[in-house]
Amino acid sequence: MSVAEFFDMGGYALYVWGSFGMTALLMGIEPFLVRGRRQVVIKRVARILRMNTEGKR
């Protein structure tokens, strides 16, 4: 089976790759979104922490 044949998917290229593509896209983006959220949270907690320690001094 040639590469071109493989990508043609027996004439169903749009449908098969459209499905797998969207799936890969979403499942690929999600971890990055979560990582971004984590960084934001950590920054915020660190800021609060700094504020508190400064406030006590």
């Binding site: 449908y15 098969v16 499905s19 971890p31 984590r38 949270v41 915020r44 907690v45 660190a46």
Partner: protein, 249 residues
């Protein structure tokens, strides 16, 4: 008995769960990557071409796992909601909200891949058929849950209101599952059932199961990662958070 209860409550405390979640996250990420890689290989190179649908049927390997998980995640959310409402544990609500985005994504994937499969098979992207409609409703339920939680400032109220919404929506799950049985629809009937074995070729079945397990591990990984963020957000004033290495540097 009581000993075991105490044990459970120990893990139900965010402080002890936080490090545990990291371990679970690591392992399930690993499992997800391996299983999905194997599953993808099998779905394109091992599984044979279908005699009726040609290559187009390969969509099944993402459609069905995603559809299963969209429902399963909702059930897990409902479980945590009940626990939260009854035992008033803090962690359960955090789990519910950690799961919702992943559930919404899988629901969307199920709809999207279903539509992309329906076009060649039924000749239309969309029909107002019982299963498709109820799956769409599931997406709205997820979105409604996320929006509701976003709109409420008070976390306790957000938790309880969200839990209630999830429980109200849970009627939808059996409807999705049995819709093909209750109404005559365009959609495929159950092809995998516990009792009567399977009507599919076993290699296809295995591929689907491996993909489903991979998606499942992926969901766990995402939920754990997200619940860690939520724990940090909510417990930011406690001492144990201020002693964590990641916030101290």
């Amino acid at each position: 008995m009581s000993n075991r209860l105490i044990n459970w409550f120990k893990f139900a405390s965010p402080a002890t769960f936080y490090p545990l979640a990291e371990k679970i996250w690591r392992w399930s990420t690993l499992i997800a990557v391996v299983l999905i890689a194997v599953g993808l290989y099998m779905s394109f190179f091992v599984a044979p071409t279908d005699y009726k649908q040609g290559e187009g049927y390969r969509i099944i390997f993402v459609h069905v796992p995603a559809a299963w998980l969209s429902m399963f995640i909702y059930l897990v959310m409902a479980f945590w909601s009940v626990v939260g409402l009854v035992y008033n544990t803090r962690l359960s609500a955090m789990m519910t909200s950690a799961l919702a985005p992943t559930g919404a994504i899988f629901t969307f994937i199920a709809l999207w891949t279903g539509a992309f499969w329906g076009k060649p098979m039924w000749g239309t992207w969309w029909v107002w058929d019982a299963r498709l409609t109820s799956e769409l409703i599931l997406l709205f339920l997820y979105l409604g849950f996320i929006a509701l939680q976003g709109a409420i400032d008070d976390t306790r109220r957000a938790d309880r209101a969200g839990a209630l919404l999830v429980l109200v929506g849970v009627v939808n799950i059996p409807i999705i599952h049995y819709s093909v049985k209750w109404w005559n629809t365009l959609h495929q009937g159950a092809s995998v059932s516990v009792s009567s074995g399977s009507s599919m070729s076993s290699i296809m079945l295995w591929t689907m199961l491996i993909m489903a397990l991979g998606f499942w591990a992926y969901s766990i990984a995402m939920a754990m990662a997200r619940v860690r963020c939520i724990i940090l957000e909510r417990e930011r004033d406690t001492t144990w958070v201020s002693e964590l290495p990641e916030v101290r540097q």
